[in-house]
Symmetry: C2
Subunit: 365 residues, 2 copies
């Protein structure tokens, strides 16, 4: 049994839950007649990517050139690098095999000018639109910038404008279903308006949206061509609090050895800290939560009451708050599991994923 | 020149600053007649470790069995693993070459009992004392637990009690020099009182303390035998705000490509996010700071005003707030530097360190 062999913090994947998450999103895309281009930054795994491929998905999204290279080595041939293109990596892009379709995002004229000078292969280009998250992208009303970019793209024989793309990351801060709905509808309205404005020149343009809360919770995608959610493959405690999933849909749990018990404060010290979970946390009730506790039983995990949570992490240490009855059920030298707050960050930190059946899952390391 | 070759976020080390930090702490230990056992979790680097060795340091501290193995492979022969021993790794400990001196921390009777059963090599044992941080360790007044542990240690021919060790991690939350002083004096008082209580049985016991703020700022170590600071080797923005260093002593800066500029909000978007810096941040003025901005010039960096800071990070994106004049001095396609908030977390995340002169620094990967 896997748990008996745990020596150090080990990320476990419930493959059945993961496949169910994949199947649901494939179904959602099919029902809404959407191209499905899942974001692979969440799992960074050729094995998990294969579960998508086995179900007919042949397009993906990544967030770096490095990640694109990994999936190209693993036979993916249609990839969008969903990050404002970093012109310092153009030489790497030029090296990619001709029969791979690469899309990039361009949001700055300086980047377009450098691409015109240095690009040596065909790439598709999306203009990233800032739909209100205010992290990256061009504001949808900034038509003069959009027009300059479109004009620049025409100067290169290697650049083909594909469409407009957005990531409504502000749904992660949404306090209600209604708020997510408002953000989602606003993003769609912005993109479809851009289509109207530029449709004559680019009748085949693609409108692409991305975040897991919208793609999971919404049912109206009218006018949209493509979705790029990523997190849904595993979900996590943050998505649970947003309302995108229930705790039972979370497909990852970190198995952590228990090294100390403190009865005076109903706390357990685990081997499992910031270098395993990241320091990302949420405060749903006014105090920090770095994850919820699960108990391993017969090769599966059983989710405990939310009064049992990871309350703090330092480099290798984690401190877990538990109820009195749960306190008694764990022993020093035993193992408990933590559902992570942010799956993408956690996966990026660890060197290994095992399924609950003990199979090794290959990741980009 | 290094900066011209930066393609992706790259952690740069100013070797001269680092060596100065090392020399100062060696001098501090020498002046106070303390054994110096630096914590190597901050750098995790055989090269940086060699700079200590070249200056006569031959003992070190690490925070995991894995890290101990790395430094053993790199010829370190006297190592304290400063983490409550995780009994699930005892087999790995048994495999360590006989001529390496390993110290571990034991804080639970269950752990001691398992060690008695399974240990096959000599190890030194420290009892970790919780001096008020309330993360891990035995409370100093809990003499009955300390006595049971000491009694158990005697049952094994492989366990040798070495002394009491503490890490006053609560100095990281201290609001003033005076507060650090109070924590430091209290820790020393607790340890020296324990020496008095158990001196008869263990006249050679070692009292060991560890945090960077105390070891940097304090000058009275009466009664203490050993110090184990780690962070001082690089320092970081958090240590600057605690008062342990000035910004010019920080030896690390992440070089990050600039991918977007947003004049309407005086912000730059950089390639450099949570997977490079970690999501650790501080709020010295009520808003989150993930690092301060430096400008690279002639192979060194120049620290800008603190109005220029990394204000948010997602997986690969960072958003940098800058003043109007600084905004004009950076271009899309250029590179800026970020002094990290927490050096230990940042180093753990990256796969490569380069010196500002372009030398590759070997780290545990």
């Amino acid at each position: 049994m896997v748990i008996n062999e745990i020596q150090v913090p080990t990320l476990l994947l419930d493959k059945q839950k993961c496949i169910r998450n994949i199947d649901s999103m494939i179904e959602k895309a099919r029902e809404n007649n959407l191209v499905f281009r899942p974001h692979f930054k969440t799992h960074q795994s050729a094995d998990v990517a294969n579960w998508f491929r086995q179900r007919g998905v042949d397009k993906c999204t990544v967030s770096s050139v490095d990640m694109a290279m990994y999936f190209i080595r693993n036979h993916w041939k249609d990839i969008t690098i969903a990050f404002p293109f970093n012109i310092r990596e153009v030489a790497r892009l030029n090296q990619v095999d001709e029969n791979v379709n690469i899309n990039i995002l361009v949001t700055e004229k300086e980047t377009a000018v450098e691409l015109i000078k240095k690009l040596e292969r065909q790439v598709g280009v999306f203009i990233k639109i800032d739909s209100g998250y205010h992290r990256a992208g061009v504001l949808p009303e900034n038509h003069s910038k959009i027009k300059s970019l479109l004009t620049l793209f025409k100067e290169s024989p290697f650049l083909t404008f594909k469409g407009f793309l957005t990531h409504s990351g502000h749904t992660y801060q949404a306090a209600s279903f209604r708020e997510i709905e408002v953000i989602h509808q606003k993003s769609i309205a912005q993109l479809t308006k851009l289509r109207e404005s530029f449709n004559e020149m680019y009748p085949k343009m693609i409108l692409s949206i991305g975040d897991t809360p919208s793609c999971t919770l919404m049912n109206d995608f009218s006018g949209i061509d493509e979705i790029r959610p990523g997190n849904f493959v595993f979900y996590d405690v943050m998505q649970y609090h947003i309302g995108s999933c229930n705790l039972d849909q979370i497909a990852l749990a970190m198995a952590c050895p228990i090294v100390e018990k403190h009865q005076d404060r109903n706390e357990l010290v685990i081997y499992g800290g910031g270098i395993h979970f990241s320091k990302e946390h949420i405060e749903p009730d006014g105090y920090p939560v770095y994850g919820y506790v699960v108990k391993f039983e017969n090769g599966n995990w059983h989710i405990l009451d939310k009064a049992n949570f990871l309350k703090s992490v330092s480099q290798e240490h984690g401190v877990v708050k538990v109820s009195e009855s749960v306190y008694k059920s764990f022993a020093v030298g035993g193992v408990l599991g933590i559902l992570p707050v942010h799956a993408c960050m956690t996966v990026d930190l660890i060197s290994r994923i095992l399924t609950t059946k003990g199979e090794n899952i290959f990741i980009n390391r």
